[in-house]
C-alpha cells in the first residue's frame, strides 16, 4: 500500500468514525457548494448566487405533462403563504404564518414536528403577517419573525435554542424574510418601510445569537452619504430590508437590496437622494463594512423598493468574463452591474416606464415626473416586486414576473411621524385613466381584476442586450417567483392560482394545474428516493408534484 492509498484509507476510516448525525449536518462547506447536491434546496433562493435554478432534470419537456400531485400540506393559517421550503436529505423545513416552523418528510408530507412561535400583538408588518422561510446551519434552523426577533430552532426536534430581539415591533419593525447563513453567522434585515423605521442589516453568531455586526442602511451624521438627507429626515427614512440577500464567497461580499425612503410618496418631505434607500449594498461578510453601493431610484417618490433578489452570474460581458449582478427592479428597469465594483453596465426597461426619460451613463435615472392626475408607469407595485426571478446558465436568460400596462396616479400628502403609525404620505389610486376601479377585486373565486388595471407576464430577458426573448402573458397580474431547471423547464404560478411549466427557451406552455389559491411564493425542486419533486405554495397549502410512476 503506497502512501497515497494509505492516506486515503485512513481518511475513509476517520470519516467512518464520524457519527451519522454529525455527517448529516449542513456545514458552511455544504452551503458553499450547494450546486453539488441538487437533490437538496439549502437556501431560500437555492444557492448563494440566488439563481433559483436547479441542475435536476428528471422532469423534462417530455414527461412534464405526467406531473401529478404527490401530497399537500395545509397551513394552519389564512394569511398569505409565501414560504419557500428548504429540503435537506429528505427532510423539508417550511414556515407557516405567522411564525411556525414545520419539519416534514419530503416524500410524503407527513410532519415530524411543529415549532410554534407566538409573535407579540404589537407586531404590525405593513402588508400581511407573512414569512418566507428559514435558513439552516448545522442542526439549527433560523427564522426571522414578524415582531422582529431572530429565533434559532433545533432542526431535529423543533425546540428553540435562542431568541433575540432585534428591534421594537411596536415602532413598526418587523421581519418577513428568510435569513441568509454565511460561514457561522446568520444575516437578516428589518422591514418597516411604511412606519418610518431606520433600516439595518445585521449578522448574528449562529451558536449564540450574539450580534456580530450591523450596517444601518441610512448613514448617521458625519458618515458618508448622510448629506443625501436634510436635517433630521434620516431618522425616519426607512430603507428597510425585507428580502434575502446573496453571497459571493470569492469576493466575500454579501449583497442586499433596500426599500423605499420614508415617507413613501411625499418626496418633498425628504429632499436629497436619501441614501441608501432603493439601493443594492455590497457588504463585507465578515465585518458588515460597505464596499460599494448602487442606488437605482434616488429620491424615490413611487415606493420602488429595490429589495429584489440579487442574482449573481459569471458570464461574458462585451466579450470578456465578468462577475455580474442581474437585477429586475421594481422601477421597471433590468440592470446589469459589475458585482466586484458596483459599476453600472446596462439598464433597460422591461415594462412600460414613464417616470424617467432614461438612465445616464452611470445608471442614474433622468426624472420625468408626470403631471398631477396623470398615471405613472409602472404603478405602485412596480414592474416586478419581491417575487424571486430566475437565471438559467443553460439558456443564459434572466426570467422575471412582471406587471404590464400597470400604472398609479401618485399624490403626495404631508405625513407626520408618530412611532408605530404608518408614515407613508400618499393618496394614490391605481386605475389607468378611464378605467373603472374594480372595488372588491378578487374577493373569492370570481376574478374581477381585469385588463383595465394591467396584466401579468413572465418575461425572458437576454442580459447582454436587455431585450425580451419571449413573453408569456397572463390575464391577472403575476405575483409568483420563478424556478428553472437543467431540463430547460420554467415553473411559475400567479394570482389566478395556476401553476405552470413553460419551455424556458421559448416560453411555450407545457403543463398547468389549477391549485385554486393565489400563488405568492417561489417554486423549488428537490429529489428524494430517486424522484424529482416540484413544490409551490398556493392559497394556504403547499402542493408537491412529481411524475406519475
Amino acid at each position: 500500500m503506497n502512501y497515497r492509498r494509505r492516506a486515503t484509507f485512513l481518511l475513509l476510516f476517520l470519516i467512518s468514525l464520524i457519527p451519522d448525525s454529525l455527517r448529516a449536518q449542513v456545514s458552511p462547506e455544504r452551503l458553499l457548494h450547494s450546486d453539488d447536491e441538487p437533490e437538496n434546496w439549502l437556501t431560500y433562493s437555492g444557492s448563494y448566487a440566488s439563481q433559483r435554478y436547479s441542475s435536476l432534470h428528471q422532469v423534462d419537456a417530455a414527461n412534464v405533462k405526467n406531473l401529478e400531485l404527490k401530497w399537500v400540506f395545509q397551513a394552519q393559517s389564512l394569511q398569505k403563504f409565501e414560504t419557500t421550503p428548504l429540503v435537506v436529505d429528505g427532510i423539508m423545513y417550511l414556515t407557516q404564518p405567522p411564525n411556525d416552523v414545520v419539519a416534514l418528510d419530503a416524500r410524503t408530507g407527513r410532519a415530524f414536528w411543529v415549532y410554534h412561535y407566538a409573535p407579540s400583538p404589537a407586531a404590525r408588518p405593513c402588508c400581511g403577517i407573512v414569512n418566507r422561510g428559514v435558513a439552516i446551519l448545522g442542526d439549527s434552523l433560523f427564522m426571522a419573525t414578524v415582531d422582529a426577533h431572530l429565533v434559532a430552532i433545533d432542526a431535529k426536534n423543533g425546540h428553540a435554542l435562542w431568541n433575540v430581539q432585534l428591534a421594537e415591533a411596536a415602532a413598526g419593525y418587523a421581519m418577513t424574510l428568510a435569513p441568509l447563513v454565511v460561514k457561522d453567522r446568520v444575516i437578516v434585515g428589518v422591514a418597516g418601510g411604511e412606519f418610518g423605521v431606520r433600516g439595518f442589516i445585521a449578522a448574528y453568531e449562529a451558536g449564540t445569537g450574539r450580534q456580530a455586526w450591523r450596517f444601518d442602511t441610512i448613514p448617521k451624521p458625519d458618515d458618508p452619504g448622510h448629506d443625501s438627507w436634510r436635517g433630521g429626515d434620516w431618522e425616519h427614512g426607512s430603507a428597510a430590508v425585507w428580502l434575502t440577500g446573496s453571497y459571493d464567497p470569492d469576493l466575500n461580499l454579501t449583497y442586499w437590496g433596500t426599500g423605499n425612503p420614508g415617507p413613501d410618496w411625499n418626496p418633498d418631505q425628504r429632499p436629497g437622494d436619501n441614501l441608501y434607500s432603493d439601493s443594492v449594498l455590497a457588504l463585507d461578510a465578515d465585518t458588515g463594512k460597505l464596499k460599494w453601493y448602487f442606488q437605482f431610484t434616488p429620491h424615490d417618490p413611487y415606493d420602488y423598493d429595490s429589495v429584489q433578489i440579487p442574482v449573481l452570474v459569471n458570464a461574458n460581458w462585451s466579450g470578456s468574463p465578468r462577475r455580474l449582478m442581474l437585477w429586475g427592479n421594481r422601477n421597471g428597469f433590468f440592470y446589469v452591474l459589475d458585482r466586484v465594483t458596483g459599476k453600472f453596465l446596462a439598464g433597460r426597461p422591461f415594462v412600460k416606464v414613464n417616470w424617467t426619460s432614461g438612465l445616464n451613463a452611470d445608471g442614474r435615472p433622468i426624472p420625468s415626473p408626470q403631471p398631477p392626475g396623470a398615471p405613472t408607469y409602472p404603478g405602485i407595485q412596480g414592474g416586478t416586486n419581491w417575487y424571486s426571478p430566475s437565471y438559467s446558465p443553460r439558456t443564459g436568460l434572466f426570467y422575471v414576473s412582471t406587471w404590464e400596462e400597470y400604472a398609479t396616479i401618485f399624490t403626495g400628502v404631508n405625513a407626520d411621524y408618530k412611532e408605530g403609525l404608518r408614515y407613508t404620505g400618499g393618496a394614490n389610486t391605481s386605475p389607468i385613466p378611464g378605467a373603472e376601479n374594480p372595488a372588491g377585486a378578487r374577493q373569492g373565486p370570481v376574478n374581477t381584476y381585469t385588463e383595465a388595471l394591467g396584466r401579468g407576464a413572465v418575461v425572458a430577458l437576454d442580459p447582454e442586450t436587455g431585450k425580451k426573448k419571449w413573453k408569456f402573458d397572463m390575464h391577472d397580474v403575476n405575483t409568483s417567483g420563478i424556478l428553472t431547471t437543467a431540463s430547460d423547464l420554467l415553473f411559475v404560478g400567479g394570482r389566478e392560482g395556476y401553476f405552470q411549466a413553460l419551455d424556458a427557451r421559448t416560453g411555450a406552455l407545457l403543463w398547468k394545474e389549477n391549485l385554486g389559491g393565489e400563488i405568492v411564493a417561489g417554486p423549488m425542486t428537490y429529489q428524494v428516493g430517486g424522484q424529482q419533486y416540484i413544490a409551490i405554495a398556493s392559497g394556504n397549502s403547499l402542493f408537491t408534484f412529481a411524475p406519475r410512476e
Partner: protein, 265 residues
Amino acid sequence: MELLNLSSRGLLQRAVVCTVLALCGPAPHAQDRAPQYFPADIEYGAQIFTSQCTSCHGVTGDLVPGVNFRAGQFKRAVSDNDLRLTITNGVAGTAMQPFAFGSSELTGVVAYLRNMNSFDARGLTVGDAARGQAVFEGAGNCSSCHRVNGKGPRVAPDLGDIGAIRTADLLQRTLLDPTGSMLPVNRPVRAVTRDGKVIIGRRLNEDTYTVQLIDEQEHLVSLTKTDLSEYTVLKTSSMPSYKDKLSAQELADLEAYLLSLKGVK
C-alpha cells in the same frame, strides 16, 4: 351531535354532583367543571404563593380587605378560570398586578388557593432547582437520554420547556411511574423493513399508512408501513421509575429543576 349530547349529559351529571356536595358540606367554589387538585400542584403553588403573593395577601391569604383565600372569599373570581384570568391580567386600578405565569404555575397557584384551608405546608419537602440540576446530570442520569437547552441527546423528549407545558403533578407522576405517564405519541417503536433493517426510535407522528420517528442515531425517519415486515409500538417506557432510586429530597429537587425549565423566551 351525539358527542354534544354526551358531553352535555356529563356536565349535567357533574352539576348535580356539585349541587349534592354543596348541600352536604361547606360551600364549594363554583366551578366550570369538577376540579381536581393534586398534591404536587398544591405544593408547587404554595411555593409560588410564598415567594410572589404573600407581600400583599399575607401568609394566610387574608391581608387584602374583602379577600380571604382560606375561606374561599374572592372579590371577583368565581371559577378557577376566573382566578387564572385575574392572576394573568391583574386588576386595573388596584395593587393586583398582572403575573406572567405559565400554565404549570397557574395550575399550581390555583390549586393552592383552593386548598389553603386544608394544606399543611409543614410536611412540605421544598425542592431546590440548582440541586435538582445536579440530580438531573448525576444521580438521576436523566441527561443521558434527555436534552435541555441544546445539550444532551435527542433520543428522549427534549425537556427544555417542560416546566412550561407540564404541571407539577404530571412531572411527579412521570418520575414515579414513567410508563403510566408516557404520552402515547412518545412511545418507543421498533420497525423491520422488508430487507431486514431494524429501526428503533421514538414515535413522533403516525397515520394509517406511515409513521414518523427519531431513531437512535437521531435521524428523522419516515416509514411507509407497507415497506415493513414488522412494526411494534412498545407501551413500556425505557425510563426507570425514580420511586426507590432517589430520596424524597432528591425528587423534590429534581421536580423543582424541571419546573424551572421554561424554554427559550
